[in-house]
């Protein structure tokens, strides 16, 4: 048998291997290019009081979590109870970024479902979201003491992700 005739078979088997690996990937998930880079700076008013300004600079020196949410976002409701529980452990400050929302609706939702956030910044027109590469709510960032983004979670946080990825990371970052 001529070895050349095996080429189609070999190419096909290679293809199958890649396809098999591909089945375990999610083609919609967009990894963030911001990981390992400094958190983009911004200055916007807070949800509760538009005159109080929030900026990520003010969080330097501690490890903190930025959670992008909105009152119109269904998946955020899924995540909310988990965030409430997590905030009670006081592991780290959770700052909310209320994305493209109506102030009144957002405040109502927090008073009804509970407020896990130390505070929420109000990104009404979404320009801060763009700087952070937000494309679907909810999204969560873990930012270290130097203000560098270390982790981004797309979609609601699940107990598994919290347990296996986020909590160990926070512990690690707190030690440095």
């Amino acid at each position: 048998m001529k070895p050349r005739l095996l080429i189609p078979l070999i190419l096909f088997l290679l293809l199958v291997i890649f396809l098999a690996v591909g089945l375990s990937r999610d083609p919609h998930e967009v990894p963030s290019p911001l990981i390992g880079k400094p958190a983009p700076t911004f200055e916007i008013g807070q949800l509760a009081d538009p005159h109080k300004i929030f900026s990520p600079e003010s969080m330097k020196g501690q490890v903190w979590m930025l959670n992008v949410w909105a009152s119109w976002c269904v998946a955020c409701r899924e995540e909310h109870p988990l965030l409430m529980e997590f905030s009670k452990t006081k592991t780290l400050p959770i700052i909310g970024l209320d994305y493209k929302d109506q102030r009144a609706d957002a405040i109502t939702m927090l008073s009804r479902e509970g407020n896990p956030y130390t505070l929420s910044a109000f990104d009404g027109d979404g320009h801060v979201g763009i700087d952070y590469g937000v494309y679907g709510v909810p999204e969560t960032y873990i930012i270290d003491k130097a203000g560098v983004i270390r982790y981004k979670n797309i979609g609601p946080i699940t107990p598994e992700i919290l347990r296996e990825k986020i909590t160990p990371l926070i512990a690690e970052l707190n030690q440095s």
Binding site: V30, P33, K100, D125, H127, I130, D131, G136
Partner: protein
């Protein structure tokens, strides 16, 4: 004469009144052209597979507005692309950048073509020479003819396959 002129003027004025030319949706068509050119080559991140130019989603509208602002601010196409890549990664570009991870992609097709054409001619050349060496000698030709005649005679007797 004066009244004739004023009648003509009135007619022209009325014509202008009756046909209202629609206003372009975009403020500045030149900026808009550039926007379309840039955003056509970018992916709408919330859609399954639509370009940033065509998508009607909220995020796409926001990003197009942002690009419009940047165009008006005088940024170049490359700068705008870099802005988007910085925030969303290479995934947002429909035209994959040329870097070591995409060399196979960009060079692949022409490499395949080259291999195909060279392979074709190598095959043809080898084929012609190998077939040459297989032509029958005169003696073999005679034997072949005899055999074929036999077969034909048999076939005439019983044509079933």
């Amino acid at each position: 004469m004066k009244s004739l002129i004023s009648i003509l003027l009135l007619m022209f004025a009325c014509h202008g009144l009756m046909a209202n030319e629609a206003v372009p949706l975009a403020e500045d068509p030149v900026v808009e052209q550039r926007l379309i050119g840039i955003s056509e080559e970018m992916r709408c991140l919330v859609c399954q597979n639509e370009s940033l130019a065509g998508s009607r989603s909220d995020l796409a509208n926001d990003l197009r507005a942002q690009i419009r602002t940047m165009i008006k601010a005088g940024k170049s196409d490359a700068e705008i692309r870099q802005y988007m890549v910085d925030r969303y990664g290479d995934f947002v570009l429909y035209r994959p950048p040329v870097k070591p991870t995409t060399w196979l992609l960009w060079l692949g097709p022409f490499t395949i073509l080259l291999i195909g054409i060279l392979g074709l001619f190598a095959y043809l050349r080898k084929r012609n020479t190998s077939i040459d060496s297989k032509t029958l000698s005169d003696d073999e030709n005679r034997r072949l003819d005899a055999l074929l005649n036999n077969v034909e005679a048999e076939f005439k007797k019983d044509p079933r396959p």
